[in-house]
């Protein structure tokens, strides 16, 4: 479904991604783990077209994305719940969700989608007329994910959904991610919380200073010596 081949991305002179290649298949949850500054978010930003790769290709169902501007990539079915959430703070929850469906030419089924999002995130329904900026961190995360789902994407990119949330909320969010996946959504999940990510993902990639150093089934990665030491903190 989504395929990155030897992608190199730079910030000015800084070589942030040094030939990242990865694939996400239909219906999978693939996780990208790594420490701070490994290039996880850069990978997502590159897929989204916010940072242009200097070389390499990004294919979504065989169509090259790497030369398209962000709004066209979004229009082709790549939706992201971005790092820092980037919800519209002065719009209500409902308006935020409506913006999520903006790229869809066909508005039929909007109400069904809304109902689906509310069944996934009942908290959002309670806050429907509240401004995005006045929500708590966990609610903002839910809103960002719900907004991404409103686009009926082919693939959902999640950037650090656990960031800044309490353990209870992290558990809830990951449960919801699993539920979304069960409904057939393909997900690329970027996480610092490697243990949680690996326990719900099908496969995983380990990113270190801009390079993929390891890739395997999630269950195997969890048992991997190096991963256990560096990312799970288990001796």
């Amino acid at each position: 479904m989504l395929e990155l081949k030897d992608v190199h991305t730079y910030y000015g002179n800084i070589h942030a991604l040094k030939g990242v290649s990865l694939t996400v298949n239909q219906g999978e949850i693939v996780t990208l783990i790594g420490s701070n500054g490994a290039g996880k978010s850069t990978t997502l930003r590159t897929i989204q077209g916010i940072n242009r790769p200097r070389s390499g290709t990004i294919l979504l169902e065989g169509v090259a994305l790497e030369k398209l501007p962000p709004h066209e990539i979004a229009g082709r079915g790549v939706a992201q719940s971005p790092e820092g959430r980037l919800i519209f703070p002065r719009m209500t929850v409902l308006e935020n969700l409506e913006m999520g469906a903006y790229a869809r030419k066909n508005k039929t089924g909007f109400d069904d989608d809304l109902a689906r999002v509310f069944s996934l995130f009942p908290r959002l329904k309670e806050r429907i007329t509240q401004k995005g900026g006045t929500l708590s961190g966990g609610e903002q995360q839910m809103l960002a994910m719900g907004r991404a789902l409103m686009a009926r994407p082919r693939i959902l990119l999640l950037d650090e959904p656990s960031m800044g949330l309490s353990p209870l909320l992290v558990e809830l969010i990951f449960e919801i991610i699993q539920n979304i996946n069960k409904e057939g959504m393909t997900i690329l999940l970027v996480e610092q919380n490697a243990l949680m990510a690996l326990s719900i993902a099908n496969r995983g990639y380990v990113l270190q200073t801009g390079e993929i150093i390891l890739s395997d089934a999630a269950a195997k990665l969890k048992e991997n010596e190096m991963v256990r030491k560096s990312y799970l903190g288990i001796e």
Partner: protein, 538 residues
């Protein structure tokens, strides 16, 4: 003291002191405005219940306001007029005007108040009807009472359209445009060039106004295309530059030559290389044509005409007034529709967060260009009307200060709110065009007849007072002061958009900036806790 009575006193004092400046019949007209204003502000305070009860409750404040207004108006007649060196007036006219003023305050206050007792829908309709009556009758009342405010009100309404247009750019799309008067100039000059005997072209005004709007929109696109990829401060600086350039260009379009390049330069150039001469005649469209007449400006400019009314005349403001009212209503209709449209929502998203908007599939550059072009279109309408109304256009009218005044109208009125911008435009421009000149005349007469003679013993002070007592000199100082006070006291504007109001309320209620509760906590604890829990499971 009762809060409502206090409002009555405030409104009465404001209206009363204004009669000092305008005198004559102004007491009746000011009374009408006072009644409407007081009624609206009181009405919203009462709970929704029987209109009769509300009417009864509003009677005392209305009476207080009416007494103060008429009292001050009589003070004007008895004490102020002699001080201004004018004869004391006590004829039938004065008595009639004051009686009407008194009754009008009472009636309008009570009626506008009582409306609030109707159901919400009925109240909306009743307010619209009241507004329509005020708008329609104003120029006739103005004419009958001899106040001659219409001409200045029309001027204010031109700025209302400009404010509405700029509101799209600044209020909806969040792009700070410091050179908006450039599009006003383009609309006005297009009209000037296409319907002035200076160029021998007499296009019908009804056609020209559309052309002017179209050309302004086109220039919106041309100027916007290279600048809109910029953000925030950079965009503001570049629009400032364009705003400065356009008047300079119009000032200098006095010898315009347009030749067809191939026959005039390229072909002769090539043949010249071979030592021959081009045999093709050079095609010249314009040879040293004076397009804008520089500082002298374009004048006269053609006026609109209609069947039955004939050509609009300078000495009769009524047709002009209704024309601009129609343009404003049309603008409001279009802008409302735009706001609710897909494009309107894209503007809001861009204003909120450009990156997030682009991730929703919104093309930021195209959306911003559309805002620029739409904003420019309305200034094109305003420019065409202005040129025809004033009958002459001069480059100095469209300089930086015009851009700033329009921006102040938008911000002071209430960023993003159509009603706010209308009120802002009316308040600022009538203050500028009506209040300040009246205050100047008032002070001048007061000085020459009362104050200066009393200062005769101190010639230095006398000269200083004489030279500095012209409020028009302090026009921009007063503007600036108003802006500073407004931003400190009421930053959301006179009539803020629902969104901004809610925001400010939310901030007050929560007593501090809105920070999502969890983001501040460090993550390490969570991760460690989780890991231990997971380890235990195994």
């Amino acid at each position: 003291m009762d809060k409502n009575i206090k409002s009555g006193i405030t409104f009465g004092l404001i209206g009363g002191f204004l009669t000092f400046l305008f005198g004559g019949w102004s007491v009746a007209v000011l009374g009408g405005m006072l009644g409407l204003g007081l009624g609206l502000s009181l009405g919203s305070r009462f709970e929704r219940r029987n209109p009769l009860q509300i009417a009864r409750a509003s009677f005392m404040p209305a009476l207080v306001a009416a007494v103060i207004l008429v009292g001050l108006s009589l003070v004007q007649n008895i004490f102020i007029l002699p001080a201004l060196g004018k004869a004391r007036l006590f004829d039938n006219q004065v008595i009639i005007a004051n009686t009407i003023g008194f009754l009008v305050v009472l009636l309008l206050t009570i009626i506008t108040c009582a409306i609030h007792g109707l159901s919400e829908r009925q109240e909306g309709i009743a307010k619209l009807v009241l507004l329509a009556i005020v708008i329609i009758t104003f120029p006739f009342i103005d004419k009958a009472t001899g106040l001659r405010w219409s001409a200045q009100v029309i001027f204010a309404l031109i700025f209302v359209i400009l404010g509405l247009g700029l509101n799209i750019v600044v209020g909806y799309a969040g792009l700070l445009d410091l050179g908006y008067a450039a599009f006003f100039a383009i609309g006005a000059y297009t009209t000037g060039i296409l319907s002035s005997p200076q160029h021998g072209i007499y296009m019908n005004f009804w056609l020209v106004i559309w052309i002017a709007a179209g050309i302004a929109a086109l220039w919106g696109l041309i100027l916007g295309a290279p600048t809109l990829p910029l953000r925030g401060d950079y965009l503001a600086i570049v629009t400032l530059g364009f705003g400065e350039m356009i008047p300079v260009i119009f000032r200098n379009l006095t010898e315009v030559t347009i030749k067809e390049p191939f026959t005039c330069w390229i072909l002769p150039g090539i043949t010249n290389l071979f030592g021959a001469k081009s045999t093709l005649a050079c095609i010249t469209f314009f040879e040293r044509q004076d397009l804008t007449a520089g500082e002298k400006g374009i004048s006269p400019i053609g006026r609109p005409s209609l069947p039955f009314i004939g050509e609009f005349q300078s000495d009769n403001p009524i047709p002009w007034y209704f024309l601009i009212i129609v343009i404003i209503l049309l603008s409001i209709f279009i802008i409302r529709r735009l706001r609710e449209s897909r494009l309107g929502r894209a503007w809001m998203a861009i204003r909120e967060d450009e990156l997030a908007a682009s991730q929703m599939g919104i093309d930021p550059v195209r959306t911003k260009l559309a805002a620029f072009a739409m904003g420019a279109t309305f200034s094109g309408f305003a420019g065409a009307f202005y040129a025809a109304y004033i009958r002459g256009i001069f480059p100095s009218v469209f300089d930086f200060s015009a851009s700033i005044i329009i921006l102040v109208i938008v911000i002071l009125g209430g960023l993003g709110n159509i009603n706010g911008v209308i009120v802002g435009g009316l308040v600022i421009m009538t203050a500028d065009r009506l209040f300040l000149p009246a205050l100047k005349d008032f002070l001048a007469s007061l000085l020459t007849n009362t104050i200066l003679p009393s200062l005769a013993g101190n010639p230095v002070l006398q000269a200083a007072v004489k030279d500095n007592a012209n409020p028009i000199l302090y026009r921009f100082l007063l503007f600036g002061l108003t802006l500073v006070i407004m931003m400190a006291v009421r930053p959301e504007g006179l009539i803020p958009s629902a969104q901004r109001r809610m925001e400010l309320h939310a901030a007050e209620e929560m007593a501090g900036p809105v920070i999502p509760e969890e983001t501040a906590k460090p993550n390490a604890m969570t991760v460690a806790g989780k890991t231990k829990a997971a380890a235990k499971k195994r």
